[in-house]
Amino acid sequence: MEAQLFHIFRNTPLGRETLLQSLYFCKKTDAAPVVYIPKFTKFLMYFENDVVQVDLDESYLCSAHTAFEHAEALIRDARLEPNFLEPRNFTASTLPDIPTHFDFMCCPRSVSDLSSKIGLGYIGPRVRRIVNAAHFPVLLTSPVYKPWHSIAVFFGGSANAVSALRLGLRIRRISGLPLEVFTQAEKKPEFYEKVIQQEGLEAKMAQSVDKWHVFETGTLEENLYDVPHDALVIMGAFGHGLIRDLVFGSIMERIQSIISNNLLVVGPRYTANI
């Protein structure tokens, strides 16, 4: 079945760049964009065990009369079918419920703050809640349109990292783009190989991964320089540690604060198929 990517359209230049990223992602992964043009600054997303209220900033309501035609033009330019989401259910009269059955969702790093505040190294609390609760991965876009020509998966051995790797292999299969795996070794390299073996991914790795970089020396920051600047970076949201339920994994936090690539973040509820 065709995958769907959910996108909240912001009718500003920043919103245009974000939609372009979504459309590029859709084309590469053979997904269909589902665009929501908000009429209210807030909406609810009811996940399986959590309800997330997203509070958009006022720029999402900018020039409502041109938003539809701008979004449609961009989608048609990308040779994709426009598909706009109109909320059917409302928790309250100004609080629509947005479905959560999508395969991907695109978010800027923050959906709740003014665009002037959004930058690298900051993922808004709403986006974190969505990643935490959703069964789909979240695409965090770079501030300007940046096509990607390869896939980079960060693999640290955790359950979410395995999901990220599976997702990377899936996108590699659909898009045909080269896939590289990056590991900042905190344990012996055998540990990571054993995880791959236990998950039954050995053959797939050998077949689909172009190179597995295992950094045994050097800091993460300097090793990240090796990540292609035009790669889609896929990683798990949570590390492994005592406070993993409360914050994103520390490695993930450091990666996202340093690189400007498009990120595809896999949360704990995502179950990936290759």
């Binding site: 079945m1 269909a32 209210f40 309800v51 079918e81 598909n83 259910n89 409302f90 009269s93 609080l95």
Partner: protein, 574 residues
């Protein structure tokens, strides 16, 4: 970490593996205690605010106080907490109906604060709906913390609502009955036991924090047969007043919506109007429990005309407060209006038949309260038990049953849904457990998709198609455009039967000629109830599901009804 993780999954604890109900009872006690504490906190804060503002009410400018309170309440709710919602109970029912009782954490405190500002400053509203919202949100979030499933979460939402109502009225049975009758709409053993325990927990915590007291004490009433007869007349009056209050609030909400200003300014305007009424009739201000006690004690001094005027004014003040954006519920105003209506009715019949030995007017005030609650909520049991419990006696039980039964029946006849449910029913969003709409809403098209169909190209020859028929187990074959992959139509096996035994046609007919290009299609986000209706109307047994112009599978009536039965069994615990 291993030591901590099991706390989030109590269903795995050995003690709860014996029986799922034990788990719900245990967590229900926690929820009942928390919601009871929230109810006491709201009640205490309201008393403090009302006392603090009391000296200022004698000044000429006091009419601005309810306006300022309502504006602050609206600002807090809409701008600070981004809640932007109504008075709460419909939201709780909606979340129970559609989303297994998932409620935002912020709702556990937002309404407490906003309703404090509205009611404390003199707005005509009650604290019960906000506290129900708050208790329900506490129950929902505790269930979420412990990773409980939908059904358990709904029960805990009920526990929160019951604990809160029980604590605020010192009325455990009313809390339980209100929750089951109004919020959940489902009487099952699985619900009742934890909710009853939570009610007890809520009541006990209120006893502990503020002592055991009866909300409205009264003396003894000697009810005669003639009073029971008169109570039937009062029931009709109560029903009329209930309808008037419901329609006044909805009408006022619509009028307010047309005023082109921000929500906080709208709330302020409504508050100023309430303040202006309050200058002449202070009985309309605040929750109004004091005036209820006066009516029950028979010491409400003004005469018949003023009592009638006070009833109408309270209706107007409540409509101005809640319809224009203030925060609070209708429970307390309904009790006040009911007591005033009962009082007015008593004085009227005394005027008409002075020779009859009528019971004390306080009794009719009680009956009026039951009539209003039963009529507004269309929940007769809630009305009966609430009055019994908040007055601490069974003296009036017979006329109470008469009033509640007649009032709720008349209201049901005139308004198909209660005040809390009206909006949800109008939008088709009220889905009670075990009903057709609820079962269908819990199924999704994705889980019913049959994906073993073989697609054929529009230019495929009949000869090639016959080979495909041999491979397939299905009667339907979707036709796609070879280049774009777009769905074009559907071929049924019957359509090719005339050509099957004519080999001469094998290389002459292509699929495009045979297909139904106007086949009824279903979208992935279509409502299953509507899909089933379309199948019935068009006499279809299968329909193709199309997403983004591409065929994704078939949906059949047989699979749908199979899943329907399974879901119905789950929902009705069979």
């Amino acid at each position: 970490m291993r030591m901590i993780t099991p706390w989030r999954h109590p269903a795995n604890w050995n003690i709860f593996r014996i029986d799922d109900r034990l788990l719900l009872i245990f967590i229900g006690i926690i929820v009942g205690v928390c919601s009871g504490v929230a109810a006491v906190a709201l009640s205490r804060t309201l008393i403090f605010l009302l006392n603090w503002l009391h000296p200022f009410r004698h000044y000429w400018w006091a009419f601005v106080l309810p306006g300022v309170g309502a504006a602050l309440s609206s600002l807090f709710l809409n701008n600070f907490l981004n809640e932007g919602a109504g008075h709460g109970v419909p939201e709780v029912i909606y979340s129970v109906s559609r989303y297994g009782g998932l409620i935002r954490f912020r709702s556990s405190f937002s309404r407490l604060i906003s309703s404090c500002l509205t009611i404390g400053s003199g707005g005509s509203a009650g604290p019960e709906a906000p506290i129900v919202m708050s208790g329900s949100a506490i129950g929902s979030n505790i269930a979420k913390f412990f990773s409980l499933n939908d059904r358990q979460r709904v029960t805990l939402v009920g526990c929160g609502a019951a604990g809160a109502i029980s604590a605020i009225f010192n009325a455990p049975i009313s809390g339980m009955v209100f929750t089951i009758e109004v919020i959940l709409g489902e009487w099952t053993a699985l619900n009742i036991v934890p909710i009853a325990i939570a009610s007890v927990a809520g009541t006990e915590i209120a006893h502990l924090l503020q002592g055991d007291h009866i909300v409205f004490e009264y003396g003894h009433f000697d009810i005669a047969f003639v009073d029971i007869l008169a109570s039937a007349g009062l029931a009709v009056v109560a029903a009329a007043v209930s309808i008037a209050l419901t329609r006044a609030m909805r009408g006022m909400h619509k009028v307010a919506g047309r005023v082109p200003t921000s929500p906080w300014a709208r709330a302020a305007l409504g508050g100023f109007a309430v303040g202006a009424i309050g200058i002449y009739l202070p009985v309309v201000l605040g929750e109004g429990y004091h005036s209820i006690q006066e009516a029950i004690d028979g010491v409400f001094l003004p005469g018949l005309a003023v009592a009638a005027l006070a009833t109408l004014s309270k209706i107007l003040a409540t409509a101005f407060t809640l319809g224009w954006g203030g925060s609070g519920g209708i429970f307390a105003p309904a009790l006040v209006i009911g007591s005033l209506a009962g009082l007015t009715f008593h004085r009227l019949i005394v005027l008409i038949w002075p020779s009859v030995a009528w019971v004390n007017e306080g009794c009719f005030a009680l009956l009026g309260m039951a009539g209003l609650i039963s009529g507004m909520l269309q929940a007769p049991l809630t009305g009966i038990f609430l009055i019994i419990e908040i007055t601490g006696g069974y003296d009036v039980i017979l006329p109470l049953i008469v009033v509640s039964a007649i009032s709720s029946t008349v209201c049901q006849y005139l308004e198909p849904a209660s005040f809390y449910l009206k909006e949800l029913v109008e939008k088709g969003q009220l889905l009670r457990p075990g009903t057709d709409a609820r079962v269908l809403s819990d199924l999704s098209i994705q889980e019913l998709l049959e994906k073993d169909c073989i697609c054929v190209g529009r230019n495929m020859l009949l000869r090639e198609f016959i080979d495909i028929i041999q491979e397939s187990h299905r009667n339907y074959f979707p036709v796609e455009d070879e280049e774009t992959g777009h769905f074009l139509g559907l071929i049924h096996l019957d359509d090719i039967r005339p050509y099957l035994f004519n080999p001469g046609m094998y290389d002459a007919v292509i699929m495009e000629q045979l297909m139904h290009s106007h086949a009824e299609v279903v979208r992935l986000d279509d409502d299953l109830g509507k899909v089933l209706r379309r199948m019935d109307e068009k006499r279809l047994f299968s329909m193709p599901v199309v997403s983004n112009n591409r065929f994704v599978g078939m949906i059949s009536k047989a699979t749908l009804l199979d899943q329907y039965r399974k879901e119905l069994r789950v929902q009705t615990c069979q």
